[in-house]
């Protein structure tokens, strides 16, 4: 049996299983489409995230994958409330050092003061290590800033902690007075990680943390992420478009398409026994660095491009590109995300296990 509560069920405050750190219910994020320069008038909305629900267990890594525009980054940012969610709930259930569990808090509706406290527990590492560090601040300033904002320790204590953090992420503690431009992409990403760790968070969003890096550097940073998770008991929401990286790092994986979750299950089930036709196509499209395997693989080549999220298709969002779509059904009814096997959630009218990898 699974202990995952029915997806989308509204959870009353205080009734989350102890091992759940984050529960997202019916999250929706819309961006307005406006017309006019001076008198802006809303003429429509892009639903970037369209009623999605999922949960993350303490200490695990949930991978969120999908192609550009599927809403994975918007989901992550709405969860942290870096973007204001249009509707939905984001329950965070923190733990204390002594093992006791705090009452869940809804991040989506938290007031300023509660949110400020939550920011210590919820952190993010961004994709672009060039854009996410202030070029005019020293490394010490960048890594210490969260502590300064949250008034943690004296300046001397903060500097000590910066040095310690730099060591933890594999940089030299002597680098505190350097500027971001003196570092390579991989090193900058380590600085970003040190900053995210500064407040001892419990939950970290990693938004495409290695996609701007070269393969050999990518491997170093992925190893670091795993070491840190073991050392500090962190929980990760790992956003990526690279399905092989996600397989490597995640415990469970959710596949998104046009603002909705298409399939969600544990890592090996997703890669070995995927049931959603989009997952099949996505997995079959990823090249494997082995010419013998590549020669024998059959690719599912999808037709066309991803439709615009401002005008998503009716019914199943994937029906316009799905090789298995049945007219009259898939283009009319939206399939719910259902648990077809214990822990294996699929949103498809005609799910079927296909081995693609």
């Amino acid at each position: 049996m699974t202990d995952i509560v029915q997806q989308g069920e509204t959870t009353p405050n205080g009734e989350l299983p102890k091992d759940v750190i984050l529960r997202v219910n019916h999250l929706v994020k819309e961006f307005p489409i406006t017309r006019g320069v001076f008198f802006k008038k809303q003429v429509g909305a892009v639903q970037a995230v369209s009623d999605i629900s999922f949960q993350v267990k303490r200490g695990e890594t949930l991978g969120l994958v999908g192609e550009s525009g599927c809403g994975k980054s918007t989901t992550a940012r709405s969860v942290l409330r870096l973007l204001e969610p249009t509707s939905g709930e984001v329950w965070f259930q923190g733990a204390n050092d002594d093992g006791s569990i705090d009452a869940p808090v809804d991040v989506a509706s938290a007031d300023r003061e509660i949110l400020r406290g939550l920011r210590r527990e919820l952190q993010i590492v961004f994709q672009d290590p060039y854009a996410s560090l202030n070029p005019r601040m020293t490394v010490a300033g960048i890594v210490a800033e969260p502590m300064t904002v949250h008034e943690m320790g004296s300046p001397a204590e903060r500097l000590e902690r910066v040095k310690h953090l730099l060591e933890v992420v594999g940089l030299s503690p002597e680098h505190t007075n350097r500027y971001p431009h003196e570092f390579s992409g991989g090193q900058r990403q380590r600085i970003g990680v040190a900053r995210a760790l500064a407040l001892n968070p419990q939950f970290m969003v990693l938004d495409e943390p290695v996609s701007a890096l070269d393969v050999s550097i990518q491997a170093q940073v992925l190893n670091l992420m795993q070491d840190l998770q073991d050392e500090f008991g962190l929980t990760y929401l790992f956003i990526a478009h690279d399905l092989s990286v996600v397989r490597h790092i995640s415990d469970r994986v959710a596949v998104m398409y046009l603002g909705k979750i298409a399939e969600m299950t544990d890592r090996d089930t997703l890669y070995d026994r995927p049931m959603h036709p989009y997952t099949h196509a996505l997995l079959s499209a990823v090249p494997i660095p082995d010419p013998t395997i590549e020669a024998s693989r059959k690719r599912i080549i999808l037709e066309g491009d991803i439709p615009s999220p401002s005008n998503p298709p009716r019914g199943c969002r994937f029906n316009t590109r799905c090789p298995k779509a049945v007219p009259g059904k898939c283009d009319v009814d939206t399939p719910p995300l259902e648990e077809l096997e214990p822990g294996h959630w699929v949103s498809c009218h005609f799910p079927e296990v296909v081995q693609v990898v």
């Binding site: 192609e67 550009s68 390579s184 991989g186 090193q187 070269d214 393969v215 050999s216 550097i217 990518q218 491997a219 170093q220 992925l222 190893n223 795993q226 478009h241 690279d242 399905l243 092989s244 990286v245 397989r247 490597h248 790092i249 890592r267 090996d268 890669y271 196509a281 996505l282 997995l283 079959s284 499209a285 990823v286 090249p287 494997i288 660095p289 082995d290 010419p291 013998t292 395997i293 590549e294 020669a295 693989r297 690719r299 080549i301 999808l302 491009d305 991803i306 990898v357």
Partner: protein
């Protein structure tokens, strides 16, 4: 044996910067046969794109300069051609497609205008014949309603469609060699599969040689007959796909394969990463350029620059110790 289609010999392309001379390509030699699909792989700054730009003579002086070398194509040394003759080669016998199709297309002209211009430049046909050739080219890259699309502007297309237009433009003059520089890097994975599939089909049909430049070893595995791995401005290993992927002889190739996460492998242990970062090309390390990052480096590696030579295993490798190292027995992720 027939003469190779492309024969690059001891190519050296340097850039002068405020900090000093960057030896971006430093002694690269290779041959590509007609119809061969060659992969050029390596990480950023290894010189793979500069090699391609040098072949096309797109290096702009005074910042960059092809210092020495020979680029023989179809019996002619491209480095000795006049600029006018070179313009006939570009887009004619050698076509090139780039990573970012939006910047490669002119935003103020229609797709049709740009295709027709290319065709008129290289083929002795009338404007209406050029139009027909253009429509056929768009049909060949599976763009629906080709006739109508001719009137569209680049911004009306998605990334994948723009790259199809670039391929159509590249192949419209039936080149003997297509240089594709990271053609799918900016695209989503399902679109990448479409484009690579299309390029493979067209190249096979027309027996077009392809030089595929990419950082993605996976893309190369399914597409190329042969692969050369570049590091810090030179080729460190060259061989068939089987040799490179199943039996790498250079510690860098071996490390690169071990660094890769694989879709078909469920491993949650640590990746076998290459330590450190690539060296500066202004002041490269003496001896082997990979030496400072190599787990197997010895005194000789710090003293002498290894040259590309035939290894016992069949491929060419630039490593002093390749014959004594048995990387296969310790390869992680490289063999399965």
């Amino acid at each position: 044996m027939a003469d190779p289609l492309l024969n690059v010999e001891d190519l050296r392309t340097y850039f002068s910067t405020e900090e000093g001379v960057v030896k971006a390509v430093d002694g690269v030699s290779f041959k590509v046969d007609a119809g061969e699909r060659r992969g050029v792989v390596g990480e950023s700054g290894c010189g793979k794109s500069v090699t391609a730009m040098s072949i096309m003579r797109l290096i702009e002086p005074p910042a960059g300069e092809i210092v020495t070398g020979k680029v023989e194509f179809d019996g002619r040394d491209l480095l000795k051609l006049t600029e006018a003759d070179m313009q006939q080669v570009r887009g004619g016998d050698i076509a090139m497609i780039f990573q970012d199709p939006m910047t490669a297309l002119n935003p103020v002209y229609t797709i049709g205008d740009q295709l027709i211009e290319t065709i008129l430049l290289h083929q002795d046909v009338s404007k209406s014949e050029a139009r027909d050739i253009a429509i056929t080219a768009l049909d060949d890259v599976q763009i629906p309603h080709a006739g109508k699309v001719m009137e569209d502007y680049p911004h009306q297309f998605s990334g994948g469609m723009r790259q199809r237009v670039m391929i159509a433009m590249g192949l419209s003059c039936e080149p003997k060699l297509l240089i594709a520089d990271e053609p799918t890097t900016a695209l989503d994975v399902t679109t990448q599969a479409q484009i690579m599939n299309l390029m493979l089909e067209l190249a096979e049909q027309r027996n077009t040689a392809v030089l595929l430049i990419t950082h993605d070893l996976g893309v190369v595995a399914g597409f190329c007959d042969s692969i050369q791995v570049m590091y810090a401005g030179s080729i460190v290993e060259r061989g068939t796909g089987d040799e490179i992927f199943h039996n790498p002889q250079h510690p860098y190739t071996w490390g690169l394969l071990g660094s890769m996460t694989r879709l078909d492998e469920s491993q949650q242990e640590r990746l076998n990463s290459v330590r450190g970062a690539p060296p500066s090309l202004i002041n490269p390390p003496t001896g082997c350029r990979f030496g400072p990052r190599c787990d197997f480096a010895q005194d000789i590696c710090r003293e002498a620059l290894p040259i590309l030579h035939q290894s016992q295993e069949g491929q060419k490798v630039a490593c002093h110790r390749s014959d004594e190292l048995d990387l296969k027995s310790i390869a992680i992720g490289a063999t399965s």
